[in-house]
Subunit: 325 residues, 2 copies
Amino acid sequence: MTQTQSSALYGPVAEDLILVEDLLESVKRVELAPLRLMLDHALAPRGKRLRPALVLLAGSFGDYNLNRLVPLGTAIELLHTASLVHDDVVDGAESRRGRPTANAVFDNALTVLLGDFMFANAAEMVTRTGSLPVTRLFALALMKMTSGELDQDAAAFDVARDVQHYLWRIGGKTAALFGHASQGGALLAQCTEGQVEALRSYGYNLGMAFQIVDDILDFTGDEAEMGKPAGGDLIEGTITLPALFYLDSAPRENPVRRFLSADGEREGYLPDALAAVVESDAIGRAQGMAQEFVDRALEGLSALEASDARHTLEELSGYVLTRRS
Amino acid sequence: MTQTQSSALYGPVAEDLILVEDLLESVKRVELAPLRLMLDHALAPRGKRLRPALVLLAGSFGDYNLNRLVPLGTAIELLHTASLVHDDVVDGAESRRGRPTANAVFDNALTVLLGDFMFANAAEMVTRTGSLPVTRLFALALMKMTSGELDQDAAAFDVARDVQHYLWRIGGKTAALFGHASQGGALLAQCTEGQVEALRSYGYNLGMAFQIVDDILDFTGDEAEMGKPAGGDLIEGTITLPALFYLDSAPRENPVRRFLSADGEREGYLPDALAAVVESDAIGRAQGMAQEFVDRALEGLSALEASDARHTLEELSGYVLTRRS
């Protein structure tokens, strides 16, 4: 993302995000050469830094102390990246954001340890906030994330799961860390209890919408824009909201079920399965649910005084809904 | 380990270790069924609980507050177990302590996530100590552990490494967590700075001796007592102290080098390589170095007042040297 795009999205905190970038850069400076090489690879793709932006924006509602907020933003981005590194090992993914994954370049064994090092580094980083409660919430968010990931893997190809189960899973996998970013930022800024809760709720619900849109894009997204081919979730057996809505109203015999229940070589069934979902009302229904979560996120904000930061958070929820990658 | 063995080894804190056992038991109570199953498997083998014992023994030199010491002991045991779970994935190990590994029972993907969950749980557990400094040291110890593991994997089969490099690696892989156990226990008990440093030094040096003995047992140990066949390190390409001492004084053409540099099928060369090390003076030299670290550990203790706990720590160092599994 360019500086201009960042300013447009993150308003008052866009410039301070460079401090997160610098701290992430410092993480790469380790003595052990193979580790340095791997960290360089894992931390190279400059993502949107949405989670660190949430930390700083939430911190803007109180005592905006960058000495505490920047380490939290960095810790959360590290944690997020570490979990992607392990996810790619778990899924055997070959590319992400148009680049080869760490496990594709190095091997699975070293990549597991790379992720562990990054988790440890994230934990060390969060203690630099000086706050034990924030450190504790950080560990709890990681427990939820991992539970969500584990559930996704354990429930793969199981068509008996429902929307409730899906929402529980993405709540852990994605929304918990979004919620922690905004809650943690508010706590570090010594916001009032009401502000902390409003910001936590905003972050959590934004995270829910974010993941639903991610799951929609896996059906409708453009490979060039996404940096990965469509249909990855179905290939992994991950039954996301669009597939669930589709299965809910499709006849018992349908292309998605045929794909999921195929023995062995199921790839030939993929194009029909994707087309069936995209042509049904499932995408629209999933978009509707993402909108509902954005509405809840905005509801949280309404309790906060008007400010540049609040305006930016409002705009951000629109971006999350309309983004294309 | 039976209660009698535990009492003999851990003296005044043996009974309180049951509280660590209870807290570890509580960790298994998660809602997600597949996770519960995996935690049950990973936490089932009742190890020696040496690291939690170190926490409690160190805590005995100050304010012996079990509400703080038991969570630290539990967190460290969880961290240790999580790292074994990931090591077994990394090494593709089939059995440990005579039981199938988690990755052998479940699959690699789920086992990576199981380890992640346990790391997160360990981080959550250490925050229950109420101490940010101890939490921070815990994260730093994990960073050192992972660096040591990474280095071991990256340097596999590389005969150009030396004893200095080996000591650096086991310092990270093993001794850092031993050092953190005794240092953390002392910090939580509000010991004086001198006591904290004496206990940290004891734990660190004990950990060095512990790992050297582990590496010796991988050559000399009895499969039935160890729960795994001998020679596992060489098979992984991990060149430990006995192999280093052997290579140091053997002629250039020797069975160990032949094994390490074999292309492809090297298993046939293993028996000769093991025999060569065992029949040389390398084992004796490695035992001598383990003794040196125990001496340094005891030196640390000499600064502390005589007590049951100090006596137990002294005895423990003898056990670490003479253990057979």
